[in-house]
Assembly symmetry: C2
Homo-oligomer: 546 residues x 2
């Protein structure tokens, strides 16, 4: 039996595009004598469709699509993910389903049992868990079809009380098929392989796994669909961060050890880089935009954002604007110009003094000789924000936000100023990781000027300002933030690791009291297992550690 | 047996304040010979604690608090809501619990069975559903203690497969106690009473219901705790939108018909008004702020916001800034001044021309004689935004956002301009409802000048601009939006109601393609059953109806 894996980049709610990609995969499979072609979870709707699922009209369009697709499944069968209505009187109104299409029609519907409802996942918001377990038999081969999380309850401290494969194994399946929408983070690829290996080896079955690929706003799907033999050895895997399509022979996978395949060793910083580039590219493509604008400050964050955007969109499509004020250093301008030159990106210098002065003059009677403070610093940042947005509006650029995760965490940024943007590129990248990424981008030649990487970070909103005036060194700050945000450690646990208790208290308080700012930030491309945004839901008005 | 209901306004994560309110309730109960005092759901943590629940430290503080509180329960028992750890190896790590405290210690822990996970609720994100059902016996009275949603599975098309009271009734309870955190919307009070009535009458038991009161950022809890006899007749109810405490005799409730109690008829617009005032007040109180700033445009939305803020914070604490440009009409300035006078609110006129001109001049070389468009309109709005934020930063005011729901829906507003603010006061109030609210505020005397209510709405960002230039009449717009947003009707269903198909398509497209703007708006006080924000989660990059 020949099984094909079709790893596609779907677009949420874009039925025309999604259907056409699925039909293309079926046609290609048929041409190459494939028996079954497998598409990913909720392929028809795109993942995650979120509250579109509450619209009957949306689900009906998915059902209409699967009927259209089924007509193409005459010689080749297909496994396709979509939402379906729950026909029972009780329970949530939908299932997260896999349709098995053959002989020109829907032969079976398999529903997802384990519904992730943590971090970025909200599946129990929409779906009723499955309680009925049946394998699908096709051309004499018994398929255990499962959906993503269905294979994940094999970890310590199991989250669910049922293990779908334990139910299916009694029906003697020959192969496990899993259709998934498992988003990237820089720990995930390794964890995912371990989970799949546990399943294949525990049930002694070959495993065909198809993941989504592509960005859905902040969620980045890395692909990496794969095939394992019944020992849990990887027979082959599909591309990462790209669409791919491959055909396998079940007997070959089953019987021969994968002698000639060496599973790719993933390099963390390269994966983060590729994920961010894909994230920018797909955000623009799927919204129908081509050009980005951003403010180049002379610092590492905007330089890194520009370099990533240039790779994603093409150098000529990244418009770099330098917005110096009286506090900007010469090297900031020079370094920025050098970066733009290195990548041959369009750039412009717009001095903000005229507008900044007019605000200062206009506000003078109301500020009543009160001492200069953060208000004036924010004023500069917001003046820049207004200019960038004016150019964005006039020419149809999308403004890229350049804040990093360390800043976003402690609120070191100006709302309606440098926190502006349609998309935050490095909002899930700590400052220390930003340096690593810059070094990675420069791995072959100097793209980001060395001086940008080595000089002490500064917002340049007053004379001789340095980040270190108000924040601890980034290697300390980032470690405390990582323990608090990614690891959900409390103050006592972090202090016990050897950090100064007063510093820990101060940092955690900054994180919690700046929730209101993060509430208004653009979506941030997610590369960690705990990013700000949809996966981290905090009260704004609260007092805990605040 | 004497049972007291303690309806308190908790503050999420403010253990000191929450514990002190609970202990105060216990002491008062003890003084008045109360046998059991009942507090609301998750009273110790405040509701909803959201991802604070993922911090072991946070839950441990709740457990430490309940032990402290238990020590006060010597003569009076208490029912108190808090999160507890799930001791089982499988399942989510927490329960949403009610602790029954008596004789100075925790006598029982009752866990919530039905976990709402729709709209603004995320309980299945954190909690394992209960599967063990036991009544609590105290002083010879058998209590069926339930938590909020546990009583709600009595509607058509039940959402859950189990009904906790069906399990408990076999143990012959004498009374139903329900601790709740049921947020307000202008349909909710009625629905809630019907649900409770069904329970009391179906199980033929008296019912003691304690709800939260107070605002938790966007969620507004209206209180309205109540007592029903076993026929489902309301014996008494506690205050709405205020803390309250009342003592009842179980036998009296049980045996006598509530002849002398007339359940309050709620007036929808008055409830919305009171909810919004509470929402503003609590937002400021709980963040430790006293003063608000807002831009008065001369239109209905900012006038209404100012009037609501004046009631919430005191007239003297609402700083009204008029920010006219060359496009502002005389009547806009006059009307705004009149409003400020009527409420004796501080106000200031700051003409934006100087700053607006400097941006125009600065941008001229880059705009290259391109025709004037929405870029210049946004520029004015953002100039205003910068000035308001500068004053907010300098003097510690919180900027109030004045956008209404109709505008927010179709994206009729400027990001980083008039969409700025710490809190959106009327972001869940349609334009047509804004007029109703203004009339309600003027019910006794003219507070909002009549001219503001009667003149045609305009953003005044270009000469002779009217909202009706680009939008349909608000009564049509709001009805289409209501069907789409609140009722989740699709284009076919809305068109079938008699609306122009092209108009419906245009409006729905505007709603969906402006998701990116709403992603960056301040939290909006929620008064409907489907508000923008945490209860409506839409993809940003998507194509459905877009």
């Amino acid at each position: 039996m020949k099984i094909a894996l079709a790893q596609n980049n779907y677009h949420i709610g874009n039925f025309e595009s999604n259907i056409s990609k699925i039909i293309k995969g079926i046609k290609q499979s048929e041409k190459e004598g494939v028996d079954i072609v497998v598409f990913s979870e909720l392929a028809i709707s795109g993942y995650p469709p979120r509250d579109f699922l509450e619209f009957k009209d949306f689900v009906e369009q998915c059902l209409s699509a699967v009927n259209t697709i089924a007509e193409y499944c005459t010689n080749t069968a297909a496994v396709v993910g979509l939402p379906t209505f729950n026909p029972n009187e009780k329970g949530k109104s939908l299932y997260n389903s896999a349709a098995f299409l053959a002989n020109g029609k829907i032969m079976s519907i398999i529903n997802k049992t384990l519904l992730p409802n943590y971090d970025v996942f909200d599946e129990y918001r929409y779906f009723e868990p499955n309680t009925v377990f049946n394998i699908v038999e096709y051309k004499g081969v018994k398929l255990a079809i499962t959906i993503c999380e269905d294979l994940w309850n094999v970890q310590d401290n199991p989250l669910y009380n049922v293990i779908p494969m334990d139910e299916l194994i009694s029906q003697n399946p020959d192969v496990i098929i899993n259709i998934a929408a498992s988003p990237f983070n820089y720990h995930q690829t390794k964890v995912r392989k371990e989970i799949l290996k546990k399943n294949a080896s525990q049930y002694n079955l070959p495993l065909f796994y198809v993941n989504h690929v592509g960005a859905q706003t902040e969620l980045l799907f890395d692909g990496g669909s794969l095939v394992m033999n019944s020992k849990g050895e990887i027979a082959d895997e599909l591309k990462y961060f790209e669409e791919d399509f491959k055909i396998f022979d079940l007997d070959e996978v089953n019987n021969s050890p994968p002698t000639n395949y060496n599973a790719s060793e993933r390099i963390e910083i390269a994966d983060i880089h590729d994920a961010l580039v894909m994230g920018i590219r797909n955000y623009f493509q799927k919204l129908g935009f081509t050009k980005a604008i951003l403010g180049l400050s002379g610092g590492i964050d905007s330089a890194l954002t520009a370099a990533l955007a240039a790779e994603a969109l093409g150098n000529e499509n990244v418009y770099n604007v330098l917005l110096p004020s009286r506090y900007s250093s010469c090297h900031s301008v020079d370094d920025s110009i050098q970066l733009a030159k290195n990548l041959n990106m369009p750039n412009e210098i717009i001095n903000i003094e005229e507008a900044f002065n007019s605000f200062e003059h206009l506000l003078k009677p109301y500020f009543k000789n009160l001492p200069t403070d953060v208000s004036e610093e924010n004023l500069q940042s917001r003046t820049r924000g207004v200019i960038l947005m004016a150019l964005s509006n006039k020419f149809g650029y999308i403004l890229l936000n350049t804040s990093n995760k360390s800043e976003a965490a402690v609120g070191y940024g100006t709302l309606y100023g440098d926190m502006n943007g349609g998309l935050s590129v490095i909002g899930d990248v700590y400052k220390t990781q930003a340096y690593e990424l810059a070094r990675y981008i420069n791995r072959e030649k100097e793209i980001i000027p060395e001086n940008i990487i080595t000089k002490p970070p500064s917002a340049e909103l007053r004379h001789n300002q340095k980040d270190s005036d108000s924040l601890p060194d980034y290697d300390i700050l980032d470690e405390i933030l990582y323990q608090y945000i990614e690891k959900r450690k409390g103050p006592k646990e972090i202090t016990a690791m050897g950090f100064d208790p007063a510093l820990v208290a101060r940092i955690l308080k900054l994180v919690n009291t700046n929730e209101y700012k993060r509430h208004q930030t653009p979506p941030m491309l997610r590369v960690s297992n705990k990013a700000f945004g949809m996966g981290r839901r905090m009260p704004i008005v609260a007092k805990y550690l605040g």
